[in-house]
């Protein structure tokens, strides 16, 4: 017997996906540093894209990744296409691995996210450096990368809790 998840598109979940992506962009770009505290904003858009592409891949087609990347570039004042390219490359590679045999255990998923970061950061650095005409500083990117790697479990727990409390994720 097919469940209603398979027969009817989960519109509520789609809306939640869109809202979470918009919020991740807004929190990433908004001035959230309190006074002169450290600037430790993780790459929220990449984290959100990765989680959704792991949980609900059909909600995150390449065009969505591209649009989020472009919006990320615009809102941060960067060169258009840099983060779009980095997100596309890293998440496409992650997906090609997914086809080999997906795993839903948290440990491997976290490791896979680290791989995505390890691809996205050099691609963004390379594309950004080419665009501005000289090597861009690596430190801010590394700080963002480390912050993302460490904060990924927190964001992932939100999704896992949601799945546990409602049975099938988002349905």
């Amino acid at each position: 017997m097919r469940s209603h998840v398979e027969t009817r598109p989960p519109y509520g979940l789609m809306v939640w996906t869109v809202i979470s992506l918009i919020l991740s962009l807004a929190f990433y770009a908004a001035p959230l540093r309190i006074a002169n505290g450290p600037d430790l904003m993780p790459m929220l858009p990449l984290m959100t894209l990765f989680i959704w592409s792991t949980v609900r891949p059909r909600f995150i087609p390449p065009i969505v990744i591209f649009i989020i990347g472009i919006l990320n570039d615009v809102l941060t004042g960067g060169v258009l296409g840099v983060w779009a390219l980095a997100y596309l490359v890293s998440l496409t590679i992650a997906r090609s691995r997914d086809e080999d045999g997906p795993t839903r255990e948290f440990g491997p998923v976290w490791i896979r996210f680290l791989v995505v970061l390890a691809i996205a950061i050099p691609v963004a650095w390379g594309a950004g450096s080419l665009a501005i005409g000289h090597p861009a500083p690596v430190r801010p990117l590394l700080i963002e990368g480390v912050a993302s790697a460490l904060m990924f479990p927190l964001l992932a727990v939100l999704f896992v809790r949601r799945r546990r409390t409602r049975g099938t994720f988002g349905s």
């Binding site: 998840v5 398979e6 919020l23 807004a26 990433y28 770009a29 908004a30 001035p31 959230l32 540093r33 309190i34 006074a35 002169n36 600037d39 904003m41 989680i51 792991t54 949980v55 609900r56 891949p57 059909r58 390449p62 990744i65 472009i70 919006l71 615009v74 809102l75 941060t76 004042g77 960067g78 060169v79 258009l80 296409g81 840099v82 779009a84 390219l85 596309l88 496409t92 997906p102 839903r104 255990e105 948290f106 963004a124 650095w125 594309a127 950004g128 080419l130 665009a131 501005i132 005409g133 861009a136 500083p137 690596v138 801010p140 896992v160 799945r163 049975g167 099938t168 994720f169 349905s171």
Partner: protein
């Protein structure tokens, strides 16, 4: 702990997206990177960016508002303990400020008299425009701020932007209700400056560090540690005399500037709309209006009949014979 569920596996393990389309998106991204370089940004892409930031501005403002409130809580409670002390200090400062205010008004009156006598017009600055910052990502590729004021409020490209302590940068992109400010520390920032004490000219060059460099410093500049650096206005885009920072040598002996604006987070800023100095329009001379031979008499006539000099010639006129 696991992410996703068994039903998801049944539903979506077979999701495939068109590889051709994905490759096309790769190529579009690469083309965008090539065409949106800061050195050669196309106007169409610039207006697209401005349009998107206009749309995003209210959302960013909404997200940032609670943090603004939070960041004010600490200083508020700290200040409660020192209110009496602070009050006395402020009264003292107010008394001192009265003296400077009187002096400033006196000097303004004097300047107006001199300008009238010399027939010069200073480049006028209009009223400043206040705005909150809506976005402050310190990314590796660009150091900029998104502010909540645009062309509708009178902000224009090139306008200088200051916080309470000094210059933070200039407007590089304007939307209807938002603008992007390129910080002085950004790699693409170039601002002509001068030392207040010695008038030594230089160009303030951002290099993504907290202390921008002073390049093209004139020979025998006579710069000293702690000299106050202000905008020189030599580019005709920024007004002269905006406070920038203090000169200091780095370990390699190069001159850098400790920015005044670093004393506070860049949260609320002022944009100073500035009418840049326009070059004089070339005179169209017909055959019967051949310019007269340069004689002392003609020169004197020209002097007495001349219209007030454009603002760009103010210094020259002021330095000449009254």
């Amino acid at each position: 702990m696991s992410i996703g569920g068994s039903s998801r596996r049944r539903d979506e393990s077979g999701v495939r997206f068109s590889r051709t389309f994905t490759v096309a998106l790769f190529l579009i991204s690469i083309v965008l990177v090539a065409f949106d370089r800061p050195q050669a940004r196309s106007p169409a892409l610039a207006s697209l960016r401005a349009g998107i930031t206009d749309l995003a501005a209210p959302v960013l403002d909404l997200v940032a508002a609670p943090v603004r409130g939070l960041s004010n809580i600490g200083p508020y409670w700290r200040n409660q303990a020192h209110l009496a002390e602070e009050n006395a200090d402020l009264r003292q400062r107010l008394n001192e400020t009265r003296y400077w205010r009187d002096l400033a008004l006196q000097l303004r009156d004097q300047r107006e008299v001199y300008e009238q006598a010399l027939r010069v017009e200073s480049p006028a600055t209009q009223n400043r425009i206040g705005a909150w910052t809506l976005g402050d990502p310190d990314g590796p590729f660009v150091q900029s701020r998104l502010i909540g004021a645009g062309t509708r409020q009178g902000v224009d490209s090139g306008d200088p932007v200051l916080n309470v302590y000094g210059l933070i940068g200039r407007v590089v992109e304007t939307g209807n209700v938002s603008s992007r400010v390129l910080l002085l520390t950004d790699l693409n920032s170039r601002i002509p400056v001068m030392a207040d004490r010695s008038n030594a000219r230089a160009v303030l060059v951002g290099d993504n560090s907290d202390y921008p460099r002073l390049d093209f410093l004139t020979r025998n500049a006579g710069l000293e540690d702690g000299d106050r650096i202000v905008t020189s206005g030599d580019d005709g885009i920024m007004p002269r005399g905006l406070p920038v920072g203090q000169a200091q040598r780095d370990r390699q002996g190069r001159w850098r500037v400790r920015l005044y604006s670093d004393q506070a987070p860049v949260d609320f800023v002022w944009v100073f709309p500035f009418e840049p100095v326009r070059p004089p329009e070339p005179e169209s001379l017909s055959d019967d209006q051949t310019p007269p031979v340069d004689t002392a008499a003609n020169a004197a006539d020209a002097d007495s009949d001349a219209e007030p000099a454009p603002a760009g010639t103010a210094e020259t006129s002021a330095g000449g014979e009254p």
